[in-house]
Structure formats: structure tokens, C-alpha cells
């Protein structure tokens, strides 16, 4: 992870750390006044992030404590990626980072400096749905639709990883994505069909 952290970002962070240290030795009155000062708070709270999401480059500042999930939803306004637990237990927030599936709630946005993220919004080719998306519709691989983006992102990766050689293997490697409506058998159908027909690149 460290290797991907750009020097520029580090220097910037160090600069702020110095400012923070300076403030710490300043008079208590100044610190107190500073607590509510948005500008100072923003200075300490945010660090720069360069990230590519669905083929689009973003260069902006984020709080280090912001998860990749909250960053995608609340700052990029891409609401297709869902929050189902925020603890990496349900898979609803699954996105691809450099082509691999991860739970975006377990990754801080700043850990993804220089990386390529694909969310559900980036899967289709314009109006043309990804084969996995089509297969989910055909096999009714969802009901409420909330876990669906995570299921589909996970399903695409599942095939790319080579983990879709049998129904049982799919069931095992898709068990990180909970579907409370219980569409599991249909999800397996969708993945097996997509696998059979080939072409799962994202």
C-alpha cells in the first residue's frame, strides 16, 4: 500500500502535520478558537487523493478516515455501490480496485491513491448492459435490488478469478455477498450462464 502513496501526498501531509504541531504549542486560547474554525479544521482533516473511477480521473481532497464506500457514495454521488453493514460482512459495497473485488467499506479512500476503481455504474458499455447484468435480469437474480450491484461486481470478479467452474464453486465464492431476499439459486444461474457464454471483462 505504501509503495503506491505518492511523495507529493506525503509532503503535503507532513506540511500539515507541522502546522498541527505549531498549533499544539500555541496558546490554549488560540487552540480553542481554532476548534470551530472550518478552514483550520479542513486543513488538518483533508489530504489529497488522485483516483480513477469508472475511467474518469479525480483529483481532490478527502479526510483520511473516509472509507472508499462513503467517498464513492457521498462525494462522487455514485449511489450504485451500497452500504449494507459497513463492517465487511455483507458484500453490498463490492467494487473492483485494479480489477479485483474488494469490500469498499473496509478500505479507506486514501489507501486507493493512483488506483483504478470500477463501480456498478462503470460496468455497462453505455446503454449496452454487461453480460452479467443481462443474465441477472434474465434469471431474476434479485428481488429488492439492494445487494445486486455488489453481487454483480462480485460475480464478474468470481469468473475472472477462475472461481466459477461449477455451481458449488460459485456458491462458495459468492458467499461473501448476502442476499436477504434469497435470490441465491438465480444468482448462481446467472453466473453459470455468463461463464458459459464467455466475455466477462469489465
Amino acid at each position: 500500500m505504501d509503495n503506491n502513496c505518492k511523495n507529493e501526498g506525503r509532503r503535503d501531509f507532513l506540511k500539515k502535520s507541522t502546522a498541527l504541531a505549531a498549533l499544539a504549542v500555541a496558546s490554549p486560547a488560540l487552540v480553542k478558537a481554532g476548534e470551530n474554525d472550518e478552514k483550520i479544521a479542513a486543513l488538518f482533516e483533508k489530504i489529497p487523493l488522485n483516483i480513477e473511477v469508472n475511467g474518469k480521473a479525480f483529483s481532490l481532497s478527502v479526510e483520511p478516515r473516509t472509507t472508499l464506500l462513503d467517498f464513492i457514495r457521498e462525494q462522487l454521488h455514485l449511489f450504485g455501490t451500497k452500504k449494507g453493514c459497513d463492517y465487511g460482512q455483507c458484500g453490498a459495497c463490492t467494487v473492483h480496485v485494479d480489477g479485483e473485488r474488494i469490500n469498499s467499506c473496509l478500505s479507506l479512500a486514501v489507501m486507493n491513491e493512483g488506483k483504478k476503481i470500477t463501480t456498478i455504474e462503470g460496468l455497462a458499455n453505455g446503454e449496452e448492459l454487461h453480460p452479467m447484468q443481462k443474465a441477472f435480469i434474465k434469471h431474476d437474480g434479485f428481488q429488492c435490488g439492494y445487494c445486486t450491484p455488489g453481487q454483480i461486481m462480485s460475480a464478474v470478479a468470481c469468473i475472472n478469478e477462475g472461481h466459477a467452474n461449477s455451481r458449488d464453486e460459485v456458491r462458495e465464492f459468492m458467499s461473501g455477498n448476502i442476499c436477504r431476499c434469497g435470490a441465491y439459486p438465480n444468482i448462481v444461474d446467472a453466473i453459470m450462464q455468463t461463464k458459459k457464454e464467455g466475455s466477462t471483462h469489465d
Partner: protein
């Protein structure tokens, strides 16, 4: 239209939105200047808040407001409450920030509003409270021994024939069945976005299964005019009953949004999903049943004990199935509910019946074995031809067909009925069955319809959809009734500005709304026929005024039944009449079912594999045969039953809400510790529909199906485990420790 096994279906009309991530749920509306609400909650179980320190939170960066009981805005709904000092605790209810009383652990004590989610979350962690703690009880076993059960009309004993007649039967069993708290846990965490346009007008995006009742409760609480509250619920990410109430977090968000005068979003946490939005109550049920030597039921005694919160009298029909599922002359039931110092339970999929059928259908299996009669044969011997509780004939009942269809499919008769007789390697094999019953009904609904100049149709109703596919089913119904291609129909929903629709739930949405859609389509046909009655094209030598019955409506055209070449498109009818469009609203009344009892039925067959040394249970195969009347959309209907069965797998093998009674706190309030069924837990699930219309309930002939698919399933699993192992498990979930 495509067909599955000769049954029609259309793909979900909202499928593309759901697979592309463009379907909008309640936390997914964007407004400039959006702020975030986060709740701080109590860490004691019972007592009063004696002091609060909110200053650090208020001073934290980005914080705009902190609301607690100390500075809670004056709400008309709070002011107009009856004198609280004169009410019993159970009648007082619980209103967020209304007083300093703590009624359950994890109760909201403050909402913190900040400009980002992270800042609000951090600031909420700074809220401190001091409490005067009181002793509490969260344990149903303790309450049963030393507590006082609730009293009133909901708890009257039911007696039909002779009470406790089972005692005199030739064959009898007595057994106690236990099930824990079970939590809905829909994948979408409950969320709300509120946007006050002024002090008296707002739009809210809320996760609700019932737009109208949510609107009413907000109206009462804030003293607003109904027309000034717009609620939008385009999509619900599952609910299963958790989204009927207007929960405390929603009220908190509404207060906070109004106070800061900015659009506000609040999504509770997965932890909070366990105690802020209801759950299925824990229950202990004693079944005492007797039958004659030739297998006729003599008596059923069903004594149920359940729990509720100290501030909310929640009851459900746990003992109902025991009164109506079988032809038993003597039935008596009791229902006791103890208030505990926990948050309130609520309806959860198959409310009441799911709990009751676990006990009844387990006991039926025990009695069948005791009488040495095949469990299916035993049920057929006690088949109810009329409803003995209501003393009415059934509107339709195809339960016998369900037994037959399911038994044939799973090859029931090929099993060796002897317990612990079937094996595959280290695995013991067992087959079990359990039946489900759930009321079918039809309520009132309004639906608006506009047939546009291009011949396309827009239907509109203020219903919401948590996943069954209401818009899809309604589109299909309208397509079949009006003779339009599904792609030319749009079903608008999820908005209080639309004609008021029914709630989504109770297995009555399709029956209720479908009737309104059916009727409005018929009205459009009449209107179209009326517009062409003088059109000479349709006239024959004898007939000079064409009527709706003389016409066929197909593919956007109306044509003479006797000569299909004489046809005109709906678009041309509208154009020729010089109309802008045809607009109608249908006010469809409920069906009181004065002369009939109506139920949906399901019979589940389960094959289990139990590992002989570790006690691990695998569900190897499920076959569910369902009488839900005529099926509207085969594809979504199958999915709904499959989903209910998956819920049943979780209920029987893994779902268990655990409270640490020493502290009154949840132990496993997250998905790592509260296990639900995942993909690897679920085998192929075969769904069979009798698919015969109910002639009474509604014009489609449909009954309900959302609930009945889970009712009786847990019993089928336990019965299969008994067949596999010879061990009778009467407490779910059946975790491996119970089998070794």
C-alpha cells in the same frame, strides 16, 4: 410475452435500474448542502438520564446541531398526548427525545447533525450521559417465572369443543418448542432523507412499506397538513415487515432537518438494525395433541408464550394456525405475552403463523410417528373441508393438491420412513414435511390510469415495493387485461402525490392493487368501446352499436370478435375522438369476505443431510408446493417463494438473536455473529404452484404468497432432522451442538 412451463411472465420492469445501480433507495437523493444525522444511543438498559454533556459534540468541527430530550423541539404530537402519569407503561409508548427515560439498551439519546457523515459520526461519539440505573429484565424465562403477563382482549383463551380433550386420546404427545428472537435484517439499512421546504412543508424519502400511514404519523407528530407532506419511496431494499412503523430514527431525522433548515440524511447502522426497527419476538410454545388409533385428531392444546417491549403491546396470531389448519373438533389455545426491557418487536414475514406453525407442524409430525402413520397421510386424514374456527366455507383450498404435488416431486413414498435408516457415507439422510397457512385478503386501493395519444398506458398508485415486483405484476396484469405490450405500460409508484395505494405487505398487495388495476383497465375498455360505438367499421347488418363485449382488445388494437380484420388502434380511437388522452381513476373497495374464509397454503418438503459425527446439517433439497390462487407472474412468484424458503433455512439452522441478560445488551448484532443463509447454505429450491384461481377473492383469482412461503418451513427441517437422526430437536436454530 415469454413463458415458463406454459405460464406467462415478463421480466422485472425495474430490472435495468437494479442491475445498473440507478434504482434510488432512501439514502440516495442528492441536495446541495446536504447534512448528516447520526444517533448517539444509551449504554444502560433501564433508568433515567440524569445529566448530559453535549458540549464537546457541539464544538466538534462541522457540527450544526445536537438534539436531546433536553432541547427537543416542541412537537404538537408530543404536546397532545394523554396524561402520561395516568397511563400504564405499556400504553405510554416511546417517543424519541420526549423524556429522560431509558427503556432499552441502545435507545437513541441524541442526534448529532454535521456537514459530513464522518464528522457527525465522530461528534456523536463525544456525547456523554449520566444515568440513574434501575434493575431490569430482558429474559423471557425470568419473566415467565416471576413476571406478570399482559391482560386484555388479545389474550383471551380460545376454546372449541372441549378443552384439553387430547388427554383422553388413544395416542398423545406433549412437547415444548422454543425459538429465539429473529431479526428482519433487510440488506438496505433503514435510512431517511428529509428536506423541509418551509416550517410547514416537507418532502421526505423514507424506507416505508406504507406511504399513507407514514404520512399520517408525520402529520400528527408535526401538526402539518397532509398535502404538505410528500413522501417518496421509489425503491425499498428489502424490509420483510421492518418498514411499517415510523421509527424513532425517522422522527429524530425529521426534527433535526427542521431545526438546521437543511436537507438531512440519516442512515442508521447495521448494529442499530437489531434494536431500532423491530424483530420477530422470541416464543416458547407448548403443544399437547391427541389422536385416535386410526389417526383422527381428538384435541389440540396450544399454549404460547412470547415477549414484547415494556412500552408497546405487540401481539400476533401465533396460535391461529392451530385453530384452522386441521379438522379437529376440540381445540383450546392460550397466548401469554410478557413485557421485557428490550426494544419493541414488530411484524416479520409470516407474522404469528411462522412461529405457530413451527410448533404445530413439528407436533403433527411427532403425533404421526406416535400413531405410526405417514406424516402426509396423517395430515390428509385430518383435512379440513371447512374453516371450523370461522364456520365458513373456503373461498378456495387446494392444500390436498399441494401435498400431492410436493410428495410426488420429492418422491416421498420412496423414503424409508424408519428414523435413522438412510445414509450416504458419513451423512445421515432425512426427509421431512411441514405445512403453511396464511390469510388471503383484499383491501381498498386507488389507481390512476392515463391512456396516452400514442396508445401507451400510465398507471399510478401510491404503493411501494420492497422486492416482490409489484410494478412488474401490475404491468403484466394491465397488459393482459387491456391488450397492450408490457413495454407500452408504465407503472408509477412510491409517491404520496399519486392516488393512495395499499401498503406493501401482509400478502395482500397483489390482491388489493391488482383488483384496482384490473378494474381501471376494464373501465378504459368500456370507454374505448363507447368512443367507437358509432364507428360504421364495426357495424354489421344487424348490429349498429358496438359494445365492449363485441370487441377484442389485443396488441393495442380493438377489433370485432366476429371479424378481426375490422380493427382500430387505441391511438386512433383517441385521435378520432379529438381527445388529449383518456384519464380515469378507479376507487376499488376491499372484499370483506363475509361468506368465506380465505387462505393461501404451502407444503414444504425438505431433504437434509446430517453429519453423523459433527452434527452439521446441510439442506440438500427443498420442494415447496404452494396454493396461492392463480399466479400473476410465474417468474417473480417463484422467486418470492424461493426467497421465503431461504429465509426459512436461516430461521431453522442459524438465525438467533442473543441478548446478554446481565447487561440487557445485544451480543451478536451484526452479520458476522447473527448468521443468515448465504449462497453456500442454499441448495436448489423447487417451487410448484397449484395455480388454480380463487373464484371469490378478486378478479384475478390470486391469493397471497409473500408470507406463506416461510410458514411451516422450520418444522419441515426439524422433522427431516428427526427422520435422519432419530433425534427430535424442539429448539431452533438447529446448530450442530444440539445434534452431538
Amino acid at each position: 410475452m415469454d413463458k415458463i412451463k406454459d405460464q406467462p411472465f415478463i421480466d422485472r420492469v425495474d430490472g435495468v435500474q437494479k442491475v445498473t445501480g440507478t434504482a434510488k433507495y432512501s439514502a440516495e437523493y442528492d441536495f446541495p448542502g446536504m447534512v448528516y444525522g447520526v444517533l448517539a444511543t444509551s449504554n444502560v438498559t433501564k433508568g433515567t438520564i440524569t445529566a448530559m454533556d453535549t458540549k464537546p459534540a457541539e464544538n466538534a468541527p462541522g457540527v450544526l446541531a445536537v438534539i436531546t430530550h433536553l432541547n427537543c423541539p416542541e412537537l404538537p404530537g408530543y404536546k397532545n398526548l394523554p396524561d402520561q402519569s395516568k397511563l400504564a407503561d405499556i400504553k405510554k409508548g416511546y417517543r424519541v427525545f420526549y423524556d429522560n427515560i431509558v427503556r432499552f439498551n441502545g435507545q437513541p439519546i441524541a442526534i448529532v447533525v454535521a456537514d459530513t457523515f464522518e464528522r457527525a459520526t465522530y461528534a456523536a461519539s463525544l456525547i456523554k450521559a449520566a444515568y440513574a440505573k434501575e434493575t431490569f429484565n430482558t429474559d423471557i424465562d425470568v419473566a415467565e417465572k416471576s413476571g406478570k403477563a399482559l391482560e386484555g382482549n388479545n389474550f383471551k383463551e380460545y376454546v372449541r369443543g372441549e378443552a384439553n380433550a387430547w388427554k383422553n386420546a388413544a395416542v398423545k404427545i406433549e412437547a415444548e418448542y422454543k425459538m429465539p428472537i429473529e431479526v428482519h435484517n433487510p440488506m438496505e439499512i433503514h435510512a431517511i432523507t428529509v428536506n423541509w421546504e418551509s416550517d410547514t412543508k416537507l418532502t421526505m424519502y423514507e424506507k416505508t412499506q406504507a406511504l399513507s400511514s407514514t404520512q399520517q404519523s408525520v402529520m400528527r407528530a408535526f401538526g402539518l397538513k397532509q398535502e404538505n407532506i410528500r413522501i417518496i419511496t421509489q425503491f425499498i431494499g428489502g424490509a420483510f415487515g421492518s418498514a411499517f412503523n415510523t421509527w424513532p430514527h425517522s422522527m429524530a431525522a425529521l426534527m433535526a432537518g427542521k431545526k438546521v433548515g437543511k436537507p438531512l440524511k440519516l442512515m442508521i447502522t447495521r448494529n442499530q438494525m437489531f434494536n431500532l426497527v423491530g424483530y420477530r419476538p422470541q416464543a416458547i410454545q407448548k403443544m399437547s395433541m391427541g389422536a385416535s388409533a386410526d389417526g383422527k385428531l381428538v384435541g389440540i392444546t396450544h399454549d404460547a408464550t412470547a415477549m414484547t417491549a415494556s412500552y408497546n403491546e405487540f401481539t400476533e396470531g401465533i396460535v391461529n394456525a392451530s385453530r384452522s389448519l386441521y379438522n379437529c373438533p376440540n381445540v383450546n389455545t392460550t397466548y401469554k405475552v410478557y413485557p421485557l426491557d428490550l426494544s419493541q418487536p414488530t411484524w416479520m414475514r409470516g407474522p404469528g403463523e411462522t412461529t405457530g406453525a413451527f410448533a404445530l407442524e413439528s407436533a403433527m409430525d411427532e403425533l404421526a410417528y406416535a400413531a405410526k402413520i405417514d406424516p402426509i397421510e396423517f395430515r390428509l386424514l385430518n383435512y379440513a373441508e371447512t374453516d371450523l374456527e370461522d364456520k365458513k366455507p373456503y373461498s378456495s383450498k387446494f392444500l390436498k393438491e399441494c401435498y400431492q404435488l410436493g410428495a410426488d416431486k420429492i418422491k416421498w413414498s420412496a423414503r424409508n420412513p424408519e428414523p435413522r435408516s438412510m445414509k450416504e457415507g458419513d451423512w445421515l439422510i432425512g426427509y421431512g414435511t411441514g405445512s403453511g397457512i396464511f390469510s388471503a385478503w383484499r383491501g381498498a386501493a386507488k389507481v390512476g390510469a392515463r391512456l396516452l395519444p400514442d396508445g401507451s398506458l400510465i398507471l399510478a398508485s401510491g404503493v411501494t415495493d420492497m422486492g416482490p415486483g409489484t410494478a412488474t405484476a401490475m404491468t403484466q396484469l394491465a397488459s393482459e387485461t387491456l391488450g397492450l405490450h408490457p413495454r407500452d405500460i408504465k407503472f408509477e409508484m412510491g409517491d404520496t402525490n399519486l392516488p393512495p395505494g395499499p401498503m406493501q405487505g401482509g400478502s395482500g398487495t397483489t390482491s388489493t392493487l391488482g383488483t384496482a388495476v384490473h378494474n381501471v383497465c376494464q373501465s378504459i375498455k368500456k370507454k374505448l368501446a363507447d368512443l367507437v360505438k358509432d364507428n360504421p367499421m364495426f357495424h354489421t347488418e344487424i348490429v349498429h352499436e358496438v359494445k365492449v363485449d363485441d370487441l377484442l382488445f389485443e396488441n393495442g388494437f380493438m377489433m370485432l370478435k366476429t371479424d378481426k380484420s375490422k380493427k382500430i388502434s387505441y391511438a386512433d380511437v383517441i385521435k378520432n375522438a379529438g381527445l388529449k388522452e383518456i384519464e380515469l381513476q378507479e376507487d376499488s373497495p376491499g372484499n370483506p369476505m363475509a361468506n368465506h374464509s380465505a387462505f393461501s397454503y404451502a407444503v414444504h418438503f425438505v431433504k437434509v443431510m446430517v453429519h453423523s459425527r459433527t452434527g452439521v446439517v446441510k439442506i440438500a433439497r427443498c420442494v415447496s408446493a404452494v396454493d396461492a390462487g392463480k399466479i400473476v407472474n410465474q417468474k417473480t412468484a417463484e422467486s418470492q417463494i424461493v426467497g421465503a424458503v431461504v429465509g426459512g433455512i436461516g430461521m431453522s439452522l442459524m438465525e438467533e438473536g442473543i441478548i446478554d441478560h446481565r447487561y440487557g445488551r445485544w451480543v451478536n448484532n451484526n452479520f458476522a455473529d447473527y448468521h443468515v443463509a448465504v449462497n453456500a447454505d442454499v441448495p436448489e429450491i423447487e417451487v410448484l404452484f397449484v395455480n388454480k384461481p380463487d373464484p371469490v377473492l378478486n378478479p384475478m383469482g390470486s391469493k397471497g404468497m409473500g408470507e406463506v412461503g416461510i410458514v411451516g418451513f422450520a418444522a419441515a427441517v426439524c422433522n427431516a432432522i428427526f427422520h435422519a437422526t432419530g433425534k427430535r430437536i424442539r429448539e431452533i436454530p438447529v446448530t450442530p451442538d444440539k445434534l452431538i
